[in-house]
Point group: C2
Chain length 146, copies 2
Amino acid sequence: MTLELKPGQELARGVCRHLASLDFVSIEEFTPKTGLRVDVMALGPKGEFWIIECKSSRNDFQSDKKWQNYLEWCDRYFWAVNSDFMTELLPEETGIIIADAYYADIIRTGPENKLSAPRRKTLLHKFARQAAMRWHNARDPGLIHL
Amino acid sequence: MTLELKPGQELARGVCRHLASLDFVSIEEFTPKTGLRVDVMALGPKGEFWIIECKSSRNDFQSDKKWQNYLEWCDRYFWAVNSDFMTELLPEETGIIIADAYYADIIRTGPENKLSAPRRKTLLHKFARQAAMRWHNARDPGLIHL
């Protein structure tokens, strides 16, 4: 598998590794609904959903006008930034993860806003299907999507 | 990814390709509970779960003493066999898929026995986590499970 990652994808890789150590599974570039794509969607052992947006620079963060739309699709929301990032810029009431391409650490958890049961069910179904579809593409290069 | 498959795994590959054409996602060697491993677990667009056991020979089928334990973990149950298999051997009230390494066809659907809502929820959570974990292992070879 090619490993030429963009800066944001490098952060995502480190984030996903750290999440795995917390027993969260995760997929990158997950689409909770059409037109909305989150950098990392993580699913915890008890069914918790966390969204992590990875920002490689101040400019990358400041040009994101969509992030508040993500809040209704998770129990907790985090930013992942590198150790040079001025974390004071990040909104209160959000979580913060300091990451690099290899690992990450949660430095602020932020509040929990629990998903409703029907939305959680919908999300779980989409998450399961997107994860299985990607794994199928990886294990069977002969697969043709109709 | 290595493609040296055993006969049963070849059937599973063909089965998963056909399921994809029906908008079912699937994972192989799925564990619904400790000690129970099914050849293919498929998840449909409406949340349906199908189990498909792949039998490469008469002997392979007749030595399976566990298959009835799988019934309570799916809405529909199928056998996948190759075109030489004497399908008369297969129990009534089960579905049949004729498969090879490249493709498959459902020739008997068998009855539907709907999962209870709590069990469906548990299964969906396990399916999501197993699929995401395998996809994570594939996309990040540097991942170390703790």
